[in-house]
């Protein structure tokens, strides 16, 4: 036999970092690279768990100094009130500056048209890209993770966008070692994804370890919902239920938080972080597969939206 059998035992070196420590260290490195190389970075902050973890990491990266970035929220007008409340408290607690781009303003002005299916998620792209141009942001942090979707699996940590905010997957820069390339021409910007290598479970384990506070809707609660396209949607002024849809009271929670018109709740008894972790670990559905209508539109729905400038 000529094979070399693995000599390693089951124990790791005392230098080994836990996977959460390794992911945290990498994300902090990314935040500090951006702080060192860009003039006007901004964090996309929706009040969802990924952006909350991003903010938590940014706070740790620059402690004891303040986070050297402002926040940008694209408000679809169909946001969960609990999430907007969380957003405003976070901004006040950490003395941050918040920019808000309102989809409703664009609809009121006639610049954007309401879609027949009522979902406002795709309408976010124009207000987002215009806010980036107007404020001259040159680095825009997003909470996107590569495990979310197969187009996102191809995304770089530093992702160059042209002056129209477009992503061109065939012209991505190779990303070598941890040498991130942030160079861009005036008008262009770079989307930065510090959570690229995190999974949904990593995010929740980190939330538990760091005792990060989340909006209540991530935990099991009673809610008035109705069924549309196989998902439980929250009833409300945004446009539901329709005539042949009926409201029910169910024990549910949200796995993702986005626009109310396309983010579904899941039946759940998980009312603590530990129970959520156990639930996700056992789930046979991905986060987006379970709760996002917009990804089901076509095989390349995410890739197409990202090309247009979506996050």
């Amino acid at each position: 036999m000529t094979t070399t059998v693995a000599t390693a035992g089951a124990t790791d070196s005392p230098y080994a970092l836990t996977h959460l420590d390794a992911l945290e260290s990498e994300a902090v490195h990314i935040f500090r690279e951006v702080a060192g190389e860009f003039e006007r970075p901004v964090i996309l902050f929706s009040g969802g768990k990924d952006s909350i973890v991003m903010l938590h990491l940014a706070l740790k990266a620059f402690a004891p100094a303040a986070v050297p970035f402002s926040l940008l929220h694209v408000d679809t007008g169909h946001n969960f009130p609990e999430v907007l409340d969380y957003r405003d408290r976070a901004v006040a607690r950490h003395s941050l500056r918040l920019h808000v781009a309102f989809v409703q303003d664009y609809i009121d002005r006639g610049t954007l048209k309401e879609r027949p299916d009522g979902t406002r998620n795709p309408l976010q792209t124009v207000p987002l890209t215009e806010a980036i141009q107007r404020e001259r942001f040159d680095a825009v942090f997003g909470g996107g993770r590569r495990d979310e979707e197969k187009a996102r699996a191809k995304e770089r940590v530093f992702s160059l966008r042209d002056e129209f905010s477009q992503w061109n997957p065939r012209r991505q820069r190779p990303e070598l070692w941890n040498l991130y390339n942030g160079r861009h021409a005036p008008g262009e910007h770079v989307r930065v994804f510090p959570l690229s290598n995190w999974t949904e479970l990593d995010v929740w384990q980190y939330i538990k370890r760091e005792s990060v506070e989340l909006p209540d809707i991530y935990f099991s609660h009673e809610r008035e919902v109705f069924q549309r396209n196989g998902m439980w949607l929250t009833a409300g002024d945004w446009g539901g239920p329709g005539e042949d849809e009926t409201i029910q009271k169910r024990r549910v929670r949200y796995r993702t938080v986005g626009d109310m018109s396309c983010t579904g709740a899941v039946d759940s008894e998980a009312d603590t972080t530990d129970k959520v972790i156990a639930e996700i670990a056992a789930s046979r559905l991905t986060e987006r597969g379970a709760t996002r209508a917009d990804d089901k539109l076509s095989e390349a729905a995410m890739e197409d939206r990202k090309r247009e400038g979506y996050f």
Binding site: Y15, A16, L17, R170, N178
Partner: protein
């Protein structure tokens, strides 16, 4: 408190036995079964979820193929699905009870060598796939050479399609012997050869009953147990300064911390340090690990160092133990892989990013280019085209504290950028590497 930088000194044991992260890459030619192996690893470790499988089944049915095409799990772009090939690196995530894995799934075509280099640059382990019926082919040698070039610490040879050679031990043994000898001649320190059938699942996650002559681990078992983290934390300590943290608040009026991710080795409070390129010296007064004071920190932790003296230090500087500080140089010879479509030429002006520092530089000479077909050096080519591997001499505008890539992947690597449009041009590794240097072995090709 200690002032030594001896890497042999024991570190706090609290992190032992923790669930760690392994980054690995796969390499294999188009028909070697790479997608099947990746699909099998994901599937058998229960990392493919119902809605993902349903989406693959829907898409497979939509184009009339029989049964789900598992390659659709990994080919995420329109153009990839249209052409049925993998164009770009994709990153996959899966976990077992013992470890978390980040898999850089890299394309196998010759024209995507740069993507393989991209995947291998962060990998601690590479799986090279070989078809048992064909044995070692040109692509196998290329994959082994890239693993050697990038100093991927561990290489797994997966001899696939053992079901098509009757699970015969001599077939496997011959390929394993040839590959191990070839890899050793390239300077690959550790090869683990595993006979598998990715299609049937033999020795991927579950041990094979049909190859009882094989006593080693399955692919997954090896991935779970291989020790890798020691490499980064050993060696001399290096901290590239990313950002200076100065709160200037009432609570912290005098705080001045040098933030960065430790590139190699360990720092301890009390260590005597030198700042490069200025050469000024001081002592570590404190270490903050993301807001918490600690006595010791090691690679790849992101930390903030506080020094005893008020020195002029900014982004781009490197902090190292005075006793083990690297020399600073302005003339660099590196082994490179050119990753841009436009060629790299002698006399070209570029930007060079090393750790956190970007400086002007000029390409002085391109002494050789590796002929990828047989890995022989081609002298004085004058230019490097996309996917070319070669030697390049560069003169930098400012002195840089460069380590040899063989000593430290982080402080021994740098990239060249186009000063006009900022494009990433070339991946570079300082010092001599095995490939293109050890001629006798390479002449085997």
């Amino acid at each position: 408190m200690t002032s030594t930088a001896d890497p042999a000194e024991p570190l706090p044991p609290q992190r032992a036995h923790a669930a760690t992260l392994l980054r690995f890459a796969t390499a294999g030619s188009v028909d070697d079964g790479k997608s099947t192996l990746v699909g099998r690893l994901l599937h058998d470790s229960k990392s493919v979820l119902t809605d993902q499988l349903e989406a693959v089944e829907r898409a497979s049915a939509g184009r009339g193929t029989e049964g789900p095409d598992l390659a659709l799990l990994t080919d995420g772009l329109r153009a990839e699905r249209e052409q049925g090939i993998t164009i770009d690196v994709a990153y996959r995530y899966f976990a077992t009870a013992r470890r978390r894995f980040i898999l850089a799934d890299t394309p196998g075509h010759v024209q995507y060598t740069r993507n393989m280099v991209t995947g291998a640059s962060t990998a601690e382990l590479t799986v090279v796939l070989v078809d048992a019926r064909n044995g070692m082919v040109e692509q196998t040698r290329r994959h082994a050479a890239i693993a050697a070039l990038l100093r991927v610490p561990h290489v797994v040879l997966a001899v696939n399609k053992m079901d098509l050679v009757g699970f015969a031990e001599p077939v496997f043994a011959a390929i394993a012997e040839e590959f191990t000898a070839y890899a050793a001649s390239l300077g690959v320190p550790d090869v683990t050869a595993i006979p598998i059938s990715a299609l049937a699942g033999d020795n991927v996650v579950e041990p094979s009953a049909r190859m009882d002559w094989y006593g080693g681990p399955t692919v997954l078992e090896h991935l779970e147990t291989v020790i890798v983290t020691h490499d980064l934390a050993s060696g001399p300590a290096r901290l590239p300064v990313q950002y200076v943290i100065r709160p200037q608040t009432a609570e912290d009026p005098d705080y001045r911390g040098y933030a960065g991710q430790i590139a190699s080795g360990a720092f301890r409070v009390g260590d005597e340090i030198t700042v490069l390129p200025s050469g000024r010296t001081s002592r570590i007064r404190g270490i903050d690990l993301l807001g918490e004071p600690v006595d010791t920190a090691w690679a790849p932790q992101s930390v903030t160092l506080l020094l005893a003296d008020d020195l002029d230090i900014s982004r781009g500087d490197l902090i190292a133990p005075t006793a083990q500080a690297p020399a600073t140089i302005q003339d660099v010879t590196a082994t490179v892989c050119h990753v841009a479509d436009q060629p790299l030429t002698v006399g070209q002006r570029v930007l060079l990013k090393h750790c956190t520092r970007t400086v002007k530089a000029v390409v002085r000479d391109i002494p050789s280019r590796l002929t990828l077909d047989d890995l022989s050096p081609h002298p004085a080519p004058g230019r490097l085209a996309a996917n070319d591997i070669g030697q390049v001499s560069i003169r930098t505008a400012e002195p840089l504290p460069l380590d040899s890539y063989g000593e430290s992947r982080r402080t021994g690597s740098f990239i060249l950028l186009d000063p006009q449009d900022g494009a990433t041009l070339t991946a570079c590794m300082t010092g001599q590497t095995g490939v293109g240097v050890r001629q006798p072995a390479l002449d085997r090709g």
